[in-house]
């Protein structure tokens, strides 16, 4: 369309490696690029690791670009927007894909409006439509009750962000290599209207990291009834070598920090075991945990929707249920 070609992935590095979300973007990006019969390019703004850049080729990139500039050191909307405008002007991508994370949800929308084009955030599927050759953007709406299919017609590039954890990481082929191409950008500090003052690491960061990687998650919701309920689910989590999490009401009531919120606008987890305690099963919550291998629900309300999504369930007072449960686990651990 008017000289716009190829898929551009907005990539991120974690140290010397691609971030997990970036490897997922490489997988879906590759599928989409095949549909278009065009190339897939990977872009890093501000990331410094040459090694991570080269790793991009192993994950399937046809070209990897890096743009370094002191104004890109800490993420802020204005300098990153300026940078993306210049990148789009140089590379003219047909499609740009972002991950749906702090940067993606901030940069993708504003970039789209800046370029007067369209965008869909938090996509759970993307493909090239065989009839019109456009990017078909599939997105959950109404808390996940429905899916919408969107098209950006007559404007370019087509921009979308992809939900974390929906796609597997791309396969890595270490035999694929290439040169990381440096892009030089001229960013004007006079056009930067915000300033980064400092970063505060979250006190609950360790818990949030644990939640992201745990095999077992014990999550509490409104049904915990009070803050002390968290102590009980923590006991269960510890007995199972797992992590704790929560639904939005538990965070709203101040029982759990917001970094442990699992759901549509919170964390997405996919542990082997997800135990939902006093959680009703609203779709906004299920969006964060439905990929768990085994879901177990404990709720005093037998009509709670959570039981429709759970493999195992107990209807009862969660305190009594967990006391029996924890005791049985404790006994089993002690006898081994």
């Amino acid at each position: 369309m008017e000289g716009y070609q190829n898929i551009l992935i907005f990539g991120e590095m974690e140290g010397d490696r691609l971030s997990t979300l970036t490897t997922q973007l490489m997988r879906i990006g590759k599928e989409v690029s095949k549909g278009l019969k065009q190339e897939i390019h990977l872009l890093f703004l501000g990331g410094e690791s040459q090694k991570a850049g080269e790793e991009g080729y192993g994950y399937g990139a046809d070209r990897v670009y890096m743009a370094l500039n002191p104004l890109l050191e800490n993420y802020m909307t204005d300098p990153y927007l300026q940078a993306m405008e210049q990148v789009v002007s140089k590379l003219k991508p047909a499609i740009i894909l972002f991950g749906q994370n702090d940067k993606g949800l901030d940069l993708a929308p504003r970039l789209a409006f800046r370029l007067k084009t369209g965008v869909t955030l938090d996509c759970v599927d993307l493909k090239i439509n065989s009839e019109n050759g456009l990017l078909e953007q599939v997105k959950p709406v109404f808390g996940g009750k429905a899916h919408s299919h969107y098209f950006c017609v007559d404007r370019h590039p087509q921009i979308a962000s992809v939900r974390d954890g929906v796609f597997d990481p791309a396969d890595y082929d270490r035999s694929k290599a290439g040169e990381v191409l440096q892009l030089s950008l001229s960013l004007d500090p006079a056009n930067i209207r915000t300033r980064f003052l400092k970063k505060q690491e979250d006190v609950s960061l360790a818990l949030a990291l644990k939640l992201a990687s745990a095999n077992v998650v014990v999550s509490g919701g409104r049904g915990l009834k009070k803050k002390e309920g968290v102590d009980l689910i923590r006991e269960t989590a510890d007995l199972l070598d797992g992590a704790i999490g929560g639904s939005r009401p538990a965070v709203d009531y101040g029982w759990l920090p917001s970094t442990l919120q699992v759901g549509l606008t919170g964390k997405k987890v996919n542990p082997q075991v997800y135990i939902a305690v006093g959680i009703s099963g609203a779709l906004q919550h299920m969006a964060g945990c439905s990929k768990s291998k085994t879901i177990i629900a404990i709720n005093s309300d037998e009509s709670a929707p959570i039981f429709k999504f759970s493999h195992f369930g107990v209807v009862g007072n969660y305190r009594e249920v967990l006391e029996g449960f924890n005791d049985e686990i404790r006994r089993t651990r002690e006898s081994k």
């Binding site: 915000t194 493999h311 089993t332």
Partner: protein
């Protein structure tokens, strides 16, 4: 005195049981159950709370711009009762299920019509279509800086200091004003309204602007070509039988252990 504009969308209640909510695939429209009172989009309530928190610390004027097809007076009066100074209802049939690109246009036009402002606060995304785009459109159309997912906003020496929530902590950012900030649950739930406060504002008049009052002209950027209810992934649930909660808890543990679902290494 700083002026804060808070954009609040009125929508179908996102907390309603999802079994009650259906979709008309042919016409690509949601079909909520009739008789359910509309509510403010939850993250927009967080945005109002953020503005009230600024007002707790310093004098300012809070104007709420509320958009919807039909805006019940009782819903709008709630924002006055809770501490906003003014509310303008942007009410028009045209605004039903309006896409984010056009919504941003409506809101930006309305903000320009209000005139003077230092801050614009909105929710990070609406509880119905979950697009997460309107904030960006407003900021671009007004050509003002923006910060997303604030946990706190404070005005100091003509700038706004925002604590921005990111995955591994909090970033403290400073922005020139006027600026736009989006909010999510982290800033805190909207404070409760007392009955007395509601009674006090019952007689307050609320201005309403229509699409033509704001010079709104619809355009097409994105097209929605399908809307349907996907398989929600419901599964067969084994309900643990038993008499007491404690017995059921024990039996649950035993079953999960037997099936190797937990503590497999033991």
């Amino acid at each position: 005195m700083p002026n804060i504009i808070v954009c609040m969308k009125v929508i179908i209640d996102p907390e309603m049981p999802f079994s009650l909510f259906n979709v008309d695939r042919e016409n690509r429209k949601p079909m909520p159950p009739s008789g359910m009172p509309p509510v403010f989009s939850p993250f927009d309530e967080n945005a109002l709370e953020a503005a009230l928190k600024v007002k707790d610390k310093q004098e300012c004027v809070i104007t709420v711009l509320s958009m919807g097809k039909s805006l019940p007076k009782a819903v709008l009066q709630k924002v006055l009762a809770v501490g906003a100074d003014e509310v303008v209802g942007l009410e028009d049939q045209e605004f039903e299920n309006l896409d984010p690109f056009n919504t941003a246009q409506v809101m930006a036009n309305a903000i320009k019509k209000v005139g003077d402002y230092d801050l614009v606060f909105t929710g990070r995304q609406a509880g119905d279509w979950d697009a997460g785009l309107v904030w960006a459109g407003i900021a671009e159309l007004l050509d003002i800086p923006s910060i997303t997912i604030g946990r706190n906003a404070e005005i100091q020496d003509g700038k706004v200091i925002v604590e921005r929530c990111v995955s591994d902590g909090i970033e403290i950012l400073e922005s020139d004003m006027p600026a736009l900030v989006t909010f999510s649950t982290e800033v805190g739930e909207l404070r409760h309204v007392s009955l007395q406060a509601l009674m006090k504002v019952k007689r307050q008049e609320i201005s309403k602007w229509s699409a033509s009052d704001m010079g709104f002209v619809k355009s097409t950027v994105m097209q929605m070509r399908d809307l349907y209810e996907p398989d929600l992934g419901q599964v067969e649930c084994y309900l643990v039988p038993g008499d007491s909660g404690e017995d059921k808890g024990r039996d649950l543990a035993k079953k999960l252990l037997d099936e190797g679902i937990i503590l497999r290494e033991m």
